[in-house]
Symmetry: C2
Subunit: 432 residues, 2 copies
Amino acid sequence: MTEENHENREGFVLHGAVVYSKDPRTLMAYDDAYLVCVDGVSMGVFSKLPDEYADLPVEDFYDKLIIPGLIDLHVHAGQYQYRGIGMDAELIDWLNDYAFPEEARHSDLDYAERAYDLFVEDLYVGPTTRAAVYATIDPDATLGLMDMLEDTGLKTCVGKINMDRNAPDYYIETTEESLEMTRAWLEAVGESGYRNTGAIITPRFTPCCTRELMNGLGELSKEFGVPVQSHLSENLREIEWVKELEPEASFYGDTYERAGLFGASGRCIMAHCVWSGEEELALMKKNGVFIAHCPESNINIRSGAAPVTRYLEMGLRVGLGSDVAGGSTTSMFAAMRTAIFASKLRWRLMDQSVRQLTFPEAFYLATKGGGAFFGNVGSFEKGFEFDAVVIEDEPLRTMRKEKGAGERAERVIYLADDRHVVGKYVAGRKLF
Amino acid sequence: MTEENHENREGFVLHGAVVYSKDPRTLMAYDDAYLVCVDGVSMGVFSKLPDEYADLPVEDFYDKLIIPGLIDLHVHAGQYQYRGIGMDAELIDWLNDYAFPEEARHSDLDYAERAYDLFVEDLYVGPTTRAAVYATIDPDATLGLMDMLEDTGLKTCVGKINMDRNAPDYYIETTEESLEMTRAWLEAVGESGYRNTGAIITPRFTPCCTRELMNGLGELSKEFGVPVQSHLSENLREIEWVKELEPEASFYGDTYERAGLFGASGRCIMAHCVWSGEEELALMKKNGVFIAHCPESNINIRSGAAPVTRYLEMGLRVGLGSDVAGGSTTSMFAAMRTAIFASKLRWRLMDQSVRQLTFPEAFYLATKGGGAFFGNVGSFEKGFEFDAVVIEDEPLRTMRKEKGAGERAERVIYLADDRHVVGKYVAGRKLF
């Protein structure tokens, strides 16, 4: 780096307690450290500030905890209004009674604007810096949501949902209009000039998408070079239904693979994977598919608990999703603790061959695990995009003196909420 | 009631949305109702205020939700400082590494005062109105905690813990001193003039209490007419250990029964009962023992998930416990939702013969179910002591229009925290 570069670069230093994941088992915890950002990228974490960064301004969060921004790999903005209710229902009934009627309302653009505003504001003040978001089938409302998200500075990819079968009359598309609207929406996104917001192809799930639609979406994904997200092997009844609908597919994931929607030609997130079999897992590994593990939703809708430590040990790519409104909250603190809850009960009640998720592993999933979908994201290692959340944990009062930064981070995921998020940076930009 | 009584009585009316449990399956929900309190007792809930109460002052919570005060049947004040950490450990290690060292610190009365102050302040501002509390083995620190709780106006019973075996040198009593200190403590409580706070005999659990100690505690319970609380059938390793320690007992609960500590002669709470067998359950039913179901703790320490709907259907007495610090939080909203989580995963992963806990049942457990330990408590039916919590749920923003009071209450248990508790009454006394 020349002197000139050095002088012109934009950078800053955060000082405080710092915690981040190196890998699923290795949590790096510094009680007192300097975190250096230059041109939106982390230069690393230092116990003593290196001389080469001595000219950078330092923001002192000396009594606060700094962690990577949290990554929500699966959340339905179009379901935000009914979060926390209807929890006595199971998946298919829940879709018909809650999801479809509520999502359909967003075709009223005035409603959509006011509803999405609540979602966006709550996401903004929490610990999430990046998210993969489902909107609804309405492309204009989806663009409206994308405009709002763009303005926040959060990094998101947002999907207009596609569905042309097994949906109510009031909330369904023909195959042709679904593909046409998706193309027009992708073109509009291309012309938008968004810097923070991208499109993601979003077939709802196999039961709601004909093969023709899936094939068309696979082509659009390739043509526009955009990633894909959908749902996979969530619920036992759903999996049986997919077998009936697509008897020629070898397994549920194969219904996406056949349409080019399963990661072979671009980034792909599949939510849930509670009951994925060996063939499906092998193909996900081969294709680099991201699993969005959504523990609270999987509990609430009584789907089960994915063997997430097994997926990590197999080398699969795994992150966490809040899955609002199957999950009740966009809080990724809650998603981390609920992932631990689910893994412990799975171990105790069902299968002691798959061990529980530890706190460092849960932290990894919500940061570096999911962050990888967005690139070098979710860690403070040198070269990672600088997403950071500053947490004031002092109000979680304790007399305990021996606590270090790692212990403070564990308390945060059990006890903290939006109140404790006092600073947020995304790709080096300070949001608040 | 004569005219004179009518004029002299102290009473008031709360106006708002009102939700309470009649029985486990019946949630009463009023969108717009009057809740009448006279002399600390509920006169019932009315859609139109009856003429006979027209002279009472009305406090208008027109856009807020009023529910019964929540009842925490099992919480360790002496473990409050390490809530939210150490969650990768299982019961016996967790006791040795976290519980015993921290509890022992409370023998320093200055430490105890500052530590208990954090617990008491947090309990005060949350939705809990009554609790059964464990202190530590130190009787003076326990009295200090009771003084603080007395001042809050919350109704609690508090136990000095007894333990004379299988505990570290730095945190153990001889049998003799345990019984002597307990007697002295009970006498001090008797002389204290407490109106809100009572003593409860608290053998830690069978592994930590010799037969001689248990017998002595059983006698003290009878002599002083105070209730009993302990732990029962929480963890599989613990149950094996009890079998080794007490081979003559027919089952774990029998070790308490033989000492007169299992509800036959007075009120009794047994925490957990995750793995109770038929004989144990039958004796609990016969003796009217209260089960404190502690779902988060049972998950965190990997004990399991109690078949709580089965217990309800058997007619057992069941309430909820936060079990801090096996549980991370004193929030009984969290205890309710976690009870539902645990029951759903138990159903899906282990045993479909025991159905999931519904939202109305979880609400019942945290109110009328646990409240019965304190008398006619936990409901707004006529004749119940007037414990009420006023919840401002508007900040849990939603566009959803069709929501009624029952739906609002469900959202609250998934999404609310202390911020949303804006009013609290205990036995007719307004705390804030």
